[in-house]
Amino acid sequence: MRLGLRFPAAAVAVLAAAMGAVLAQSSPANAAAPTAVTAWYMYGTTESALDSAAKSDGCTFARNHPGTGNRVMVLDFGAARNIAGGWGTVDFSNVEFSNGKILTALENASDGVHNCYTQGTTTITYGNSNYHLSSSGMSDSDVYNVGYYQEQRAAELATYESSRPDQYAAAASDMEPSWNGSTNTRELVTGATARAFAVYYDYGSADGCPTTGSGGSCNNGWSVSTVAYVSFYGEAVPLPEIYRPLSTLAAQWTVVRRNWNANHSSGYSFWGVTGEPGYAQAGWDDLANDNSGLVARELVCFGC
């Protein structure tokens, strides 16, 4: 497993402990699924509302932190967009926020985690999605810059967190084959890897990919190898959605892993699972059963 997270020097010792925990938390055969942690969809229509929601979310995450290890807190700010000549997102209430405003919201999340701290460490993560990037006018180089500057904002968040050794920063994207073309979407990961501050979680799907073998086609012109690229190339690490039917989605991601391993010298592993409320742990179990010892003990869930 790669050590992709990067932190301020003051947190190096904590980092070592946290990453040690991650490494130790890979799933042995038949290991029990971890407790799910909540992730949030962001619906703010004003900057102040986005900030206070992020702060509330951070507090809730901290109060419910299930253990002494590191857990990932994903805030999904919506679809990546070109905002007034810069980068940002349009959120789920259809309001645009620049990266600067998103960074402020992430800092509020950091305050919330800090104020309500109970135990463990938390990686606060700037999430977006590949929803309709091309059709909203975003070129490949635009999308590259989105990934690059997501990592940059994660770096700036880490600076803000520098006096809080129980907090880390990362970036993430819900990359769904059905939402956008593969060539365009790949640029998110290529850009993030060029900046390379922290890992870049892919909490998307392998929508339409086969459930057997080690290659093939997926929805919207994607291939299994493209899903492998956006989930494991460079800074990318997979946190795949395993929703019902659990066994089907777990099998799709197992094909992705086989595809990567058939074409690269490094071995593919899962950095956890994104689960469905009520079925999150069963989804983690399904993926772990198909990929014994290769699924880290992370389980995020929108709505858990």
Partner: protein
């Protein structure tokens, strides 16, 4: 590890509600709902009222196409609690109509995601829902009219997460 600002941990309040009623009337089935939630509290809060409305085409959808293929969506917030309803069909079963309901309490950080299925209905669409600033609170527990791909009409009851004939 830094331990200042610690508060006593409150166990997450989780509840699992699974209801399954197989009532078939006029080709509509009351759906299955599964809800899991966790709650917390926070200080200072900015109110963010969003008058009830159908979301414009092109508004990002948060939920994976493997969970739902969305035809349209409705959003409403009274500044504290927010409800977003996504209508369409099940991602891996086009024969099943599906709603995904996202609820948030922006003061406490609580968020739930609930799935309501309408077997055999195929694509569902929300039609003529309550709209405007006057229903921001009441509509969150009211009824949302919908239509199936075959033209049949029904109601999604947001007070108990069930769908049935109109």
């Amino acid at each position: 590890m830094k331990t200042n600002s610690r508060l006593k941990m409150r166990n997450p309040r989780r509840r699992l509600v699974i209801g399954a009623i197989a009532l078939l009337t006029a080709g509509l089935a009351i759906g299955v709902a599964a809800t899991v939630s966790s709650a917390g509290q926070t200080p200072a809060h900015a109110l963010d009222r969003i008058p009830a409305h159908i979301l414009q085409n092109g508004t990002p959808i948060p939920v994976s196409p493997e969970m739902i293929r969305v035809s349209n969506a409705w959003l409403d917030s009274d500044g504290v609690t927010l409800v977003a309803v996504y209508a369409g069909s099940a991602g891996t079963d086009p024969a099943t109509g599906r709603f995904v309901i996202v609820r948030q309490n922006t003061q406490t950080g609580q968020q739930t995601l609930t799935i309501v299925n309408v077997p055999g209905a195929r694509v569902l669409s929300i039609v003529k829902p309550p709209t405007g600033p006057g229903v921001e609170t009441s509509a969150q527990r009211g009824k949302l009219p919908f239509q199936t791909a075959g033209g049949m009409r029904g109601m999604l009851n947001l007070s108990n997460n069930t769908a049935g004939p109109r």
